[in-house]
Symmetry: C2
Subunit: 697 residues, 2 copies
């Protein structure tokens, strides 16, 4: 839990200043004003007193244990100050000072040195280049921010210090509280994963928010986040796309992947909720922080106006939630209690002249309806509307009820006093119904996610050594691309079915093999020197009998030698000719941040023209493989439409898992495509017809 950072008994400010307008002054002032109960030690060789506190010339002069130090001096002195912190036995250091990685290579080296010092002394570092850290529980404000937010259940971290100032300013205006508030800065030591872990079991943080630009260790991030999101929501903004994808890509998967796709997959697999703006981030945060998760996806709406009721209904249906079917008893009771013109079906319209008592009775009845999973209360400030009294009624029902109650008091001038009452009572308010519904949708999704067990990564018995051997051989020959026979061997080693085939050196051997596997067969000239076989007539399809096999063998060898007299000819490859089935592509591209990104799509135009593909980061579970397949728009084609029988979807999933295992086993695989993978009717499996694979250089 990063004890010295979040429960310090004493804080030193290295670079504390008497001069207003200096960061070193703002930090000390904020610490004092934040109500920190421990000791504050301003460090400044030129002053003996700062803001009423005795100042010290250096850290060594402090005659006390220092848990947390804040460094706010020019960059050039930071490393030495950090060294002094280590010697003093400081537990954690917040380096506000900037001028490191962001200024060039030398700065990056300095940051590496910081990490080294931290390791050496068992000390943790936040920053450098941060706004600071605020903890409303300790409480302390070790930042140069312009205000301290109130205490609340939201933990926040941000890679942008400037954004922290915006977030705080909005939170101040909206009375949104935080538990912990951390500016991550350049992440020389502590990064987003450390804070996720720190806050995972923190009872004071019901929801974790993050603004991320890049992630330090993608695979570990997914693993850690996935465990946390099973009991605590994480809402994140991810901005910017890395341009690390500069390596030329040659596969389908490589062309269609890209860091945005990787992030999308990673967030999905980690159970992270992605916010698309700071506004959206707040909308979801207050819902998670203040209200329980919905019981189910059925939303009840109570409103004093038809139009906004329709807007809410539209939003509910568009988002995939359901407009709750009220129980007959609820409807009957509402009919009795409300005026005849009121609508007693959901949305319940208490009418424009409703006073708070009418809201109260509707709230009471609807919140107790067993069908209702969540409740949205809409109020427009009409002539007779009792805004504050209605806010009190909503608050009371929310307090008693175990379903989430969200409010939408549609206004901004005259609704303020009501909204204040709602906020004090932990009822989130939204200006428009669409925002409230978006929050409900995230809550329903979170509940479903929490009810789904952690994924189980199956492992198949495979011949890993055989693949390792092929890779060694290929590398020894100075190659990185793998296809043909080697590709078939790899598929076989991972038990992905391939057409029966054999390299035959004589026509007789070819006939014998063809008879064994059954006609028709495909024959291909086998030669290490002939790359483009079709160009020289070196591929023949649909060979039906022994005499055609013999003819084909001789003809292909004869013609190959006529065209390329110096070529080494091994003979002919005889291969089972696959008929029927649908073309699938299963591919992989290694993302610089998250690793092996596996793709699934239907062959032909579906991938090439319609770009109808789905991605997951390996490893993934069987359920995730099925989810991934269901994501493509053309999925119904696999389930069987227009009289076609259903395809063997289970076998597709199994292949995805085997590919997941292969690319996890061998991090040196940077790209691969099984294209096409033929999938046959249900129960008849799949077959990998062609595969290309590229190794890292």
């Amino acid at each position: 839990m990063l004890e010295p950072l979040f429960s310090p008994k004493s804080i030193a400010v290295i670079g504390a200043s008497r001069t207003e307008g200096k960061l070193g002054h703002a930090v000390v002032s904020n610490l004092i004003q934040s109500g920190f109960q421990g000791k504050i030690y301003p460090i400044n060789p030129q002053s003996s007193e700062i803001l009423g506190l005795p100042a010290y010339p250096n850290l060594a002069a402090v005659d006390d244990k220092v848990d947390l130090a804040v460094i706010v001096i020019p960059a050039k002195g930071v490393l030495q100050a950090l060294e002094e912190c280590g010697e003093k036995g400081v537990g954690a250091v917040i380096i506000i000072s900037a001028g490191f990685r962001e200024t060039g290579h030398e700065g990056l080296l300095a940051e590496r040195k910081m990490a080294e010092i931290a390791r050496q002394y068992g000390m943790r570092i936040v920053g450098p280049n941060v706004l600071g850290v605020i903890d409303t529980l300790a409480p302390y404000n070790a930042s140069f921010a312009a205000g301290m937010p109130r205490r609340g259940k939201i933990a926040f971290m941000s890679q942008s210090g400037a954004l922290c100032t915006s977030i705080l300013d909005i939170a101040l205006a909206r009375d949104i509280g935080f538990s912990r508030f951390v500016s991550l800065g350049n992440k020389a030591d502590l990064n987003e994963i450390d804070f996720l872990e720190a806050w995972a079991e923190d009872p004071e943080s019901r929801v974790i928010l993050a603004y991320l630009e890049g992630i330090s260790d993608g695979a570990r991030f997914i693993e850690v986040a996935r465990r946390i999101t099973k009991h605590k929501p994480i809402v994140a903004i991810k901005s910017g796309t890395t341009s690390a994808g500069s390596r030329a890509v040659s596969s389908h998967t490589g062309t269609l992947a890209g860091s945005e796709r990787a992030y999308e997959a990673a967030f999905k697999q980690a159970g992270l909720i992605r916010a698309h703006s700071v506004g959206h981030l707040f909308d979801l945060a207050v819902a998670f922080a203040r209200q329980p998760l919905p019981r189910n996806d059925q939303v009840a709406v109570i409103t004093n106006a038809g139009g906004p009721g329709i807007m809410a209904t539209d939003a509910i249906e568009r988002s995939g939630l359901r407009v709750a079917n009220l129980a007959p008893e609820t409807i009957a009771a509402l009919r009795q209690a409300l005026p005849p013109a009121a609508s007693v079906l959901n949305p319940v319209d208490v009418l424009g002249d409703a006073l708070s008592d009418r809201y109260r009775v509707a709230l009471d009845l609807v919140s107790k309806d067993p069908n209702v999973g969540a409740l949205l209360v809409i109020l427009t400030p009409q002539f007779m509307t009792e805004i504050e009294e209605t806010a009190r009624a909503v608050s009371e029902v929310a307090r008693k009820s175990d379903i989430p109650v969200l409010a939408c008091f549609m206004g901004e001038a005259n609704t303020q006093a009501g909204v204040k009452i709602l906020t004090q009572n932990n009822v989130p308010n939204y200006i428009v119904p669409e925002q409230a519904v978006a929050a409900l949708k995230a809550m329903v999704d979170q509940r479903r996610w929490q009810e789904t067990p952690l994924p189980n990564f199956e492992r198949f018995e495979v011949d890993r050594e055989r693949v390792a051997e092929i890779f060694r051989k290929v590398r020894a020959e100075g190659r990185l691309q793998i296809g043909d026979a080697e590709a078939r061997d790899i598929l076989e080693a991972y038990h992905i079915p391939i057409p029966a085939s054999k390299l035959c050196t004589t026509p007789e051997e070819a006939v014998a093999f063809a008879e064994q596997i059954g006609y028709p067969v495909v024959m291909k000239i086998a030669s290490p020197d002939i790359l483009h076989k079709t160009d020289i007539g070196g591929v023949r399809l649909n060979i039906q009998n022994a005499s055609e096999v013999r003819d084909s063998f001789d003809l292909m060898v004869f013609r190959a030698l006529r065209r390329m007299p110096d070529a080494t000819i091994w003979g002919c490859l005889v291969q089972q000719q696959v008929r029927g089935g649908r073309e699938i592509i299963v591919g992989m591209n290694r993302d610089p941040q998250f690793g092996p990104l596996v793709m699934f799509g239907l062959g032909g135009i579906y991938v090439e023209v319609l770009k109808d593909v789905a991605f997951r980061i390996a490893p993934f579970s069987r359920e995730e493989a099925h989810e991934m397949m269901r994501e493509i728009r053309a999925f119904n084609l696999l389930r069987g439409v227009r009289g076609q029988p259903p395809a063997d979807i289970a076998a597709c999933a199994e292949t995805l898992l085997k590919v997941s295992q292969l690319v996890t086993d061998f991090p040196e695989i940077v790209e691969m495509d099984i294209n096409p993978l033929m999938v046959f009717e249900e129960g008849r499996g799949v077959m990998g017809i062609d595969m290309r694979l590229v190794l890292a250089d």
Copy 2:
């Protein structure tokens, strides 16, 4: 321009009241407080004075011309009061009273009577069941709203009175001004189209906003709106989906259409900008009301923080706008003027310690860059940030510049004073960059729309009478469904190519025709009694020569008579067999609100499984037909991919136009599908293979 409504010299309030808390009191009070310069006549038989004004027992007692009357008495007295208004020669009446259409059939009849009275006296009516009307230019506030908005360039109308109260409340808090503000209510007389027309040339209204639930006359709405949006943006929220589509649908088009699709097409064709929430509506409204349209789609961003700069870039790229390429001179000048660590490429980062002077120099240089089409200024409230002074700098540049300048002061507590300065200077501010970019996107789209000429509806020389004749005959026979030969005749009458075919009564005639059109041919048994021809072997494909024609003729006739001895057999239909080409579906379904909704999609799985279709409401132009085709995801298949030659897209467009003409010419067509329409290679046209059509009963 609805003169008496928007420039009244005298206003009477029928139902004015001395009692606070009554609507009739609120209306008089609002009128007085709004600064109305004309005469106010409270009408109330029980009072001689209301709020300091002499009151009159009835309208006739007013010894003056009354331009505008507001009726705010119980429903039962409204018709008589309206009659008195007519007799008095009142120009326009606002009926605030409720209790009409919304309460049942009798109320609806009363509304019809209102319309009748209005027509009789040449008087116009707003309402009944409205909040009222506000005009900040007259100025007057003839409503019972809780406040009067400031004067501004936004005209607003709403079908929900309650929503009006929310809109006003938000506008008051955000200091958003209106020119006219109308609650439409039940639309007994004046509807959304009337106000669109009234505001079309109103120089005081730069943008029109509308909240719509249903539209009174879809076709006319499109026609009127389309003309207006070519010089003035209309932003609308459409909520609710009509359930009028209860008639069972049997066509593909009918299944895929639906009122949401119709609205989408109608809004697109009318150039309306659709807002997805009240928040979005305001975001766009202030941009259009306060700033000029962008010069192009290149957006420049100036920021004092990297993170929000990235967010803006992400949003710009996602929305299809471009991050402006600054001119080399601008970059050079910025490099000279800003500190070395600043980013001088777009987004221009003036750094976290930027004071207003640094913003000012960047604003000045970037706003003059000839490449830049619009400017977004982001500010995060950091330690040294000069919020107000920067707001002044932004305002000055915005005033001087002819490109739009939008601000994103990311905050809410400490940024308020700065935002106030921006608002006073007509610079719209958004809390997050994504909202600002959404507004810029709408502005760029509006500019493009304005630059596109009004659509030209081509008309082809067709044989309309022949189709009319077929419809008469079909109806006379008590049928509504049309297929087969009649369908072919209809296509032919509208010059949509169909396969050559002829009803032949003898084998010899069949051979002669087959020789004439060329082999292969298709033959079908021709009988009014045989519906399912294939079931009795009555369809034969791929007939290659004269002898096969003779055999097929005799066999089909023999077998038909064996199966159905009493059937009338006319002979056989001999038809050109179409080969090659791609299957298209062109369909139509009549929308209850907007009329003929034409659909385009690729045949087979594209329509059935992928639901990859596009819609337009007929009539539409050739450009719109092309746009419609480009909308489907599979459009690239028609342009030619994977070695296939491009299809004859021009011929598809022409077919769409002919269908548009057909369904416009004959409003009795409720559904039709040409399925498949075969489209051949570029230059080789299309051919309608099969067509079904349903007439209205």
